[in-house]
Symmetry: C2
Amino acid sequence: MRISERARRLQWSPIRKLIPYANRAKEEGVKVYHLNIGQPDIKTPPEVLLALKEFKAEIISYGPSQGIRELREAIAKYMGKYGYEVEPDEVVISNGGSEALLFVFSIVADDGDEIIVPEPFYTNYNGIAQILGINLVPVTTRAEEGFHLPPMEEFEKVFSERTRAVLLCTPNNPTGTVLREDEMRRVVDFVKEKGIFLITDEVYREFTFDGRKHTGALKFKDAWDHIIVVDSVSKRFSLCGARIGNIISKNREIITEAIKFAQARLCPPTVEQHLALAAYNLPMEYFDTVREEYQRRRDVVWNALSGREGIVLEKPEGAFYTVVKLPVDDSEAFSKWLLTDYRNKGETLMVAPAPGFYASPDKGKDEVRIAYVLETEKLERAMEMLLDALEKYPGAQCD
Amino acid sequence: MRISERARRLQWSPIRKLIPYANRAKEEGVKVYHLNIGQPDIKTPPEVLLALKEFKAEIISYGPSQGIRELREAIAKYMGKYGYEVEPDEVVISNGGSEALLFVFSIVADDGDEIIVPEPFYTNYNGIAQILGINLVPVTTRAEEGFHLPPMEEFEKVFSERTRAVLLCTPNNPTGTVLREDEMRRVVDFVKEKGIFLITDEVYREFTFDGRKHTGALKFKDAWDHIIVVDSVSKRFSLCGARIGNIISKNREIITEAIKFAQARLCPPTVEQHLALAAYNLPMEYFDTVREEYQRRRDVVWNALSGREGIVLEKPEGAFYTVVKLPVDDSEAFSKWLLTDYRNKGETLMVAPAPGFYASPDKGKDEVRIAYVLETEKLERAMEMLLDALEKYPGAQCD
């Protein structure tokens, strides 16, 4: 029997390749510090867990395809607190940010169409694009520039008649970069001029450091028709397993189409929508606590790695990731070596090699993504090991 | 900005068209008996609701993409009780049956490929096929034959070099037909001969009446490599809102590919997987109670409609649906008229016009689907109204 081309072109997550080595290390009794995944150790807010216990229904029944009204209202209100005018009817609830991306990519692009996205970028964009036969066209950002956007000429260069959208993620996974308002403005002007969409992945909205303000796409009212925001409760409320995301657009045609896609899968999970509702009803002060914790962790990474010879790292600005350039020949080999060979008092660490975050071949070969999802003490220990490992790694780069 | 062809070809659910009329009737104070949807009024088992209250976790975190192991083990065990040998590794948990279908269609067929499916069929097959650019090629079944499968020549006639699979749903939504073992055998032989897949939607597995036994595809061990079973907790445990489905295949390539798709959306909802786990741990006697209730309801529909002049209905065999041929000119007009004009002591009913369940044009124009998802007393009242409405309907068919 024949497996589809669609399935064959879908790639495994590049991080996945390393999992067997991590498992083997654990079987040997080695403790592995996971800096490779975006699963925070921050606890789900107790108010949300309480909502779970208090969920009352005799039948866990289908909800509306667009998502329950109360949740859409709560999201609209939450967005309002940032100054974004959003109506509950402009929100579509999805099965996680992943499904939001699936719907949005489906709506804006056909097989063979293109979406421009700054690289390195979140690997799952690839998966969704591959399922739909959409080409992600990269514009490269650089560690030396803190992964901020290159001049718009770089976007112009890759723009083609098949380009349907630009996709930005801010604060960024994997780089931790928070796009400045002027950068966003330039991209907004670009999509307006080209008559294409701007998709923004804003799932890390609250995680911005050093007093930095997040600029969401909806700030640009002159481009509302172009803008589609993808969001999720996963990181914001440590609710990764709830699989509740959403799409927001002031373009009613986009919302109508999204509801059509939503209808094709009936509805998002009912119980978890109620958890998300409790989460969005939290006071905004909740975010301060979480932001401060992530900033402390960012500081641990920054203090450990900045100014070290051979390491290139601008101060991470947000989210809980950073991509760092290391003095290694091949970051995949280095990441694997950490798991197979490097031992430090019976411990090691796992990082994500950066090539998986690039669409361009041969990029990121000396870079890894560090997710600072561990509490500071563990993170300090992991950084200590990383520096020690770099000294001992036989495949170190010699300049 | 350009909306994709993919989005434009995706159709609204045909039942949806009638919702504004139902809402208007309700606004006028009319009570509407909903026989149009597959949302049962059977309560979610208390054991499952208890599992919700008892769910313990400090962090609602990502689970495995394939689904939590305990749930896959419980499903394998449950399948074992029916004599199907299933390993936990042969199960992939999905966001409802809808996502299971999305993955399976994606894996077996590319844009322009074909899947043969007996019509009338579940409308959401259309949505998923349209998203992926797959053509559902119908083989027509008939009310007069209780919607059992036609001779295999009909399958041969529509088979082409683009045919990748046959899709069967048993017990069937919308017809209520339970395929006999000999029918299944013929289709199994067909897919073996053609070297294509057999996808079976077995979400109504337990709902078979009059002592009828369900024949699942996995019974045919000689064709295991060809078989992909799609399943869901939605109807089985009155857990429609949980959005937990699954894919089962003895073909490890299919499972590997399904995990790849599963990984592209990270994981299914964590809390709801635990509810599903509690549900699959229920004793098999649970199904007896539910089956008996649905059979009582089936009897209400059957006793009311069978033998009536102009009505064609074979005794429904399973699920909780039936497609019935009525003496009307146009079932869409009739269904609309019920909502806009027909009133019986301030009440009316809503049914689903059958054309939406056919891929062939002009089929089902004198048929409606009745979902017997209401308790017997309400159902009796609804049947009384249906018969009364048929007498009063101005668009009745005159032979």
